[in-house]
Symmetry: C2
């Protein structure tokens, strides 16, 4: 493995350091994965730090090596979800198409995100459990997400792909329906997250689309089926995990991966 001779003085202080930091970050993320799952299944207030620790085979105070407190764990969970949704928006905005096209793309990605743990954390966690500082961050971010929906609708009206309507209320209607997915969807159910996402994208946008997409019965193919994103690794353990956030590209791991500041 490490059979390099003299360059050890230039690299050895770095490689060990890096690998140690990596190990630390992996543990940190393991805490978050466990925490978000527990917070979702038990509720933030019923889930104790002892529960989280126990599930990780450690004890409560060990958690304080990685986080300052329970509310910070909550915030970090939310924060991962936020980065994921931000990636959705960035991707969608980058791609071309009419306002309606963008709205549909975002709807599909957002819906799928809502079927994952980190996506659910965006809509099921209570802002009031956060510190005032973090709460403001979340509120601002939420407004930005709302803005994306509204902007797509507005630009759709402008370019003629969307029928005239109040962008604000239309965005509320669509986003609300999507957010609610985070409340009822369970990975074990009849529907796959993917199927729900496509169905919702059609159902929600055809109400305001100028050219109706009516074909045969329900769905058949949406525009460019986004093959198997598998975002958010919702405690599935099905092997194909991880690369989601790595492939999210550049934007990911920006401000997170701090920690260590005791």
């Amino acid at each position: 493995m490490d059979a390099r001779y003299p360059l050890s003085n230039t690299e050895s202080p770095w490689l060990p350091f890096e690998s140690r930091r990596r190990a630390r970050d992996e543990k940190r993320e393991a805490v978050l994965r466990t925490a978000v799952a527990l917070f979702l299944e038990q509720g933030y207030h019923r889930a104790t730090l002892n529960d989280v620790a126990k599930r990780l085979h450690i004890t409560k105070p060990a958690l304080y090596n990685y986080f300052r407190g329970k509310d910070e764990i909550l915030f970090e969970c939310w924060s991962i979800g936020h980065e994921l949704v931000d990636d959705c928006i960035a991707e969608t905005s980058a791609g071309g198409g009419s306002g309606l096209d963008k709205l549909r793309k975002l709807t599909i990605r957002y819906a799928e995100l809502m079927t994952t743990d980190y996506g659910k954390s965006l809509v099921r966690f209570d802002l009031r459990d956060l510190s005032e500082h973090n709460r403001k961050i979340v509120q601002t971010a939420k407004r930005r997400i709302d803005r994306a929906f509204r902007d797509y609708i507005a630009s759709g009206i402008a370019d003629g792909s969307v029928r005239p309507c109040d962008p604000k209320l239309a965005a509320f209607a669509i986003a609300g329906s999507l957010n609610w997915i985070g409340h009822w969807f369970q990975p074990g159910g009849e529907q796959t997250g993917h199927a729900v996402a496509e169905e919702f994208a059609i159902r929600l946008t055809e109400g305001i689309a100028k050219t109706t997409t009516q074909m045969a019965s329900t769905r058949k193919k949406a525009d460019k089926p986004p093959r198997k994103r598998n975002v958010g690794n919702a405690s599935r353990e099905d092997g194909s995990e991880h690369h989601t956030r790595a492939a999210a590209g550049a934007a990911g791991q920006s401000k997170r991966a701090r920690g260590r500041l005791r």
Copy 2:
């Protein structure tokens, strides 16, 4: 006022009794009104029974004259909301019309309900805070509500007023959007509950309606504008309160108004 002479012996043992029970029930409902408002603005776990009591100018143990515990208060709040939504469904089912008509009526009533405190309690309270017994009641009731939406959609497909679609997912989409109103609507905002309800009813149903309701821009008049229902008296104190539940007719005050069992 009470200048009736001998009939006092036939009425006096009844009127005082009734008036005493009425006074008790009014206090009970006052507790619930305060509790639901507090639970919504602070969140169930942050709102303490001391807070509730303080706002009523009493002390915590006094609450235990009317309720067995905090979770029962939560359940009773939820229960009032449930009766209100049940009334909506009963009314809608009683009235005629196509499946689409019924779906629209229910959507409007349900949306408006979601702008009130008791309506919000249906979607913002966490089932897991209830006792196992009450939790089952709520779950059953929720399924019934969902069923109403699905049935209207299904019957709409059958009678040709609704385009073919999966009733289950369509119901989820519509109900989800409506439920989300309970999360963002604030009585002080730009929109009135009524306006939101009508807008949503159009927006949500036109996506699956066979005959599109496109007129001019957005709304103008829905079918039979349900004048000023003012359901749920959300801590408004604007004089015209109360008769909502009284006018709900027969169904109301069925099982509630028990209490007293210490």
